[in-house]
Structure formats: C-alpha cells, structure tokens
Symmetry: C2
Subunit: 233 residues, 2 copies
C-alpha cells in the first residue's frame, strides 16, 4: 500500500510550497517508494489523521503515522534499509541535524522575507484569514508592513549561501557524488521560494544554482514540475 503524505498547498492544490514537505517528498523519491500526496491547506493541518496539533509533512505508512521531515527520514531509513540511503551511516544522520539547524536559522528567515505576502496570496479566503492572523501575531505587524521591510532581491540569500556555494564548487552534492537528505534540507527553502515568490529571485549563476537545477531534474523532475510562482502568476 502506498505511503500517504499530507503536503501543504495553496488554493491551487498543485501549488506545494512548504520547504518541510519538499524534504519529505524528495526523501520518498530518493527511497524509490510509492506514495500518494494529499494536498492539505493550513486550516486542515491541526486535525490531520485525527491528531491534535499535527504539522505537515505528516505521513501514514500502514499503521504508522508520523510527522516532521527529519523524523520521517529516519523512519524511512530504518524501515527501508535496502533502498538507497538518505544518510550513509550514523555520522551522516547526526550531521544532517547541523544542516537543518543552519538552513532553518539562516536561509528560512531570508526566504520568508522574500515571499511571505506571496504565500498569503496563494491561499483561499478562509486560509488567508488563518495565515494572516497567525503570522501577524508572530511578527507584531501586518503582512503588508512585514513585506515592505525587505528588499525583494536575493542579495542576502546569496550571501548566506556562500558556505554552500564554496563547497558545491568542488563536488556535485552535499552528499558527495549523489545527494543525501542533507541536500533536500537545503533544497527545501529554495523550492519554497521558487514555488511561492511572485518575482523571480532565484540565484541564476554559480554552483548553488547548478546544484539546484540538478535536484529539480532528479526523480523524473518532480521538483521542476511544481510550477514556479513567477512564471505561473
């Protein structure tokens, strides 16, 4: 039976923008597993699978329900050991956590600055109201004020990715010759930006741009098939 994955979407169910869901989507593709996506809007997240305060991604694999992309990756690694590894050993599993911490602490806030209002605009009325209320409580200002605070270019993002750029000049993936979960951890926020932003602020040149293009094409191009905000606008 195929694994179910609940993924965050906009009013258009093909508009899958969550960085965390992309990490799980690529983890499933990496393992070569069958899965069915269940597009899920913000207001439906907390009640998924009868659970309280669930988050996305959530997966159901037979009787097992779990959430959080790293926990899911660890589960898939243990459950499907004969499929390609997401970590290549315990050291890779541990050090992936630094990539998560770095990506979420450094890249995610910068991506959010570039497309927070665009995400709002992808939603239907009910979800817009939910999103606005929760984010404005978080930021202490309106979404429009938040949006106006930040220049809509990728200067800061490109600068923040320099450690990645310098590494990817010397090898095709963070995982070496082939990607690991760590690659998907960093792919997540860039795909979030690509799918959400109403203006094209993707890095176009350099090692990170080339690496991102390679990942978009991987697994029959599931990354590239997700329409980009700026072309689909």
């Amino acid at each position: 039976m195929a694994i179910k994955i609940y993924e965050l979407c906009g009013k258009d169910e093909t508009r899958l923008f969550s960085p965390h869901c992309w990490k799980t989507r690529l983890s499933l593709a990496h393992k070569g597993l069958d899965w069915d996506t269940i597009p899920t809007q913000f207001v439906d997240v907390a009640g998924l699978e009868g659970g309280e305060k669930r988050t996305v991604p959530t997966i159901r694999d037979g009787d097992t329900v779990l959430h959080e992309s790293y926990q899911i990756a660890c589960y898939l690694e243990d459950q499907y050991p004969d499929k390609p590894s997401l970590f290549n050993g315990e050291g890779g599993k541990e050090l992936s956590k630094f990539l998560i911490s770095w990506s979420q602490g450094t890249l995610h806030p910068l991506v959010a600055q570039l497309c927070m209002l665009d995400i709002h605009n992808l939603l239907d009325d009910e979800n817009r109201a939910f999103f606005r209320k929760s984010r404005e409580a978080m930021f202490g200002i309106t979404l429009e004020e938040f949006d106006q605070k930040f220049a809509k270019d990728n200067t800061n993002l490109v600068k923040a990715m320099l450690p990645l750029e310098n590494l990817l000049k010397r090898q095709p993936y963070l995982g070496g010759d082939t990607p690991l979960f760590a690659d998907y951890v960093v792919f997540g926020p860039l795909q979030w930006l690509r799918v959400s932003a109403s203006h094209d602020v993707m890095p176009k040149e350099g090692a990170v741009a080339d690496w991102f293009a390679r990942l978009l094409d991987m697994y029959d191009g599931i990354g590239r098939k997700a329409s980009a905000g700026f072309t689909a606008a």
Copy 2:
C-alpha cells in the same frame, strides 16, 4: 613509531594557536594514537619535510607525509579503522565538508578580526616581519588599521554561531552523544581565539560554551592545557 605532527606556534613553543592544527591534534587524540608534536614557526612552514610550500598541520606517519586537516582525518580513518571513528561512515565524511566550509567561511573571519594583531604579538621578530608582510599584502592595510576596524567583543561571533547553539541545546556534540571530526572543525577557531586573544572574548554561557568546555576537558584536557591568551598575557 609515533606520528609526527608539525604545529604552528609563537615565540613560546607551547603557544599553539592554529585552528587547523587543533583539528588534527584532536583527531589524533580521538584515535588514541601516539604522536610527537614539532612546534613550527611561520617562516619554517614552507620548507617542512623538504617539501615546497607545505602548510600546517603536516604529519609524518612512517613513510607517509601529508597535510591539510581533513585529508589527515581521512587518512587516519582509513589507516586506523579499528580505532574510534572520526566520521561514523561515508555520510559523516561527506557532510563534514559542509561544516568545514561553514566554519571557515563564517567563524574564521570573525575570529581573525578579534585576534589578528594579537597573533602578531605572539611571534618573534623574524616571524613578526613575515606575518606582517603577508597579511598586510592580503588585507591592503596595516595590521593596526585592520585591528582598529573591528570591535573587540564577541557579538558577531555569537550571532554567527546561532545554528550551532540551537543544535547543541538538544545534543551534547555535533556528532551526537560523542564528538566526531565535525566537532573539532568548529572547536578549531574557538581554540584559536582562546589561545591568541589578549582579551577574553570567549562565549561564557549557553550550549556552545558548555560544549566547548567539554571538548577542552576531553583527552586528558589537552585543549585546556593550552594556555589562553588573556590569562597568560
């Protein structure tokens, strides 16, 4: 026969300040190997082991001579597979490279801003002249001008280490329950600062400070035995 390690020192041969040499020193300790240190000053580095343009650390293990802390760690891992692993598998070996790129791109420049002139002052006259000439050519300004550009507090360094701080709140080492080479990669620049800086700018509280203290005490306290600049001044 013990492994020889050539380590950068000041006029005082016990003042071992190089972040890269510390990575190798702790790699050798981690593997539980016997080694002899050969304190080496700047002007003697290029001619080490008869080589041209060698760098530190350089090690000699029997007939094998090699340099660069990551290459040395890979060599030790391959050569001494029965000793504790520095990587815990191929994934850990690959992802250690991101830690290197992040540490060198983010932390090293900030540490250099805090103690560049202090390093100069640790050297003898001949090495001071060498260091001044090479660094001033690199920076395009005098060491004193470089020194005056930067506030001598750790605000920027602490901020840069936030991804590390957030991770180490949840686990004792980057490697998980025990350290891996990745831990030494980040220990390196902090020990460089501790040994070199004439003022105490070490983080004192929080998960990074606690982790650093644990590493200083490890392996019979070889890290802590290295005198700190601000206490030894």
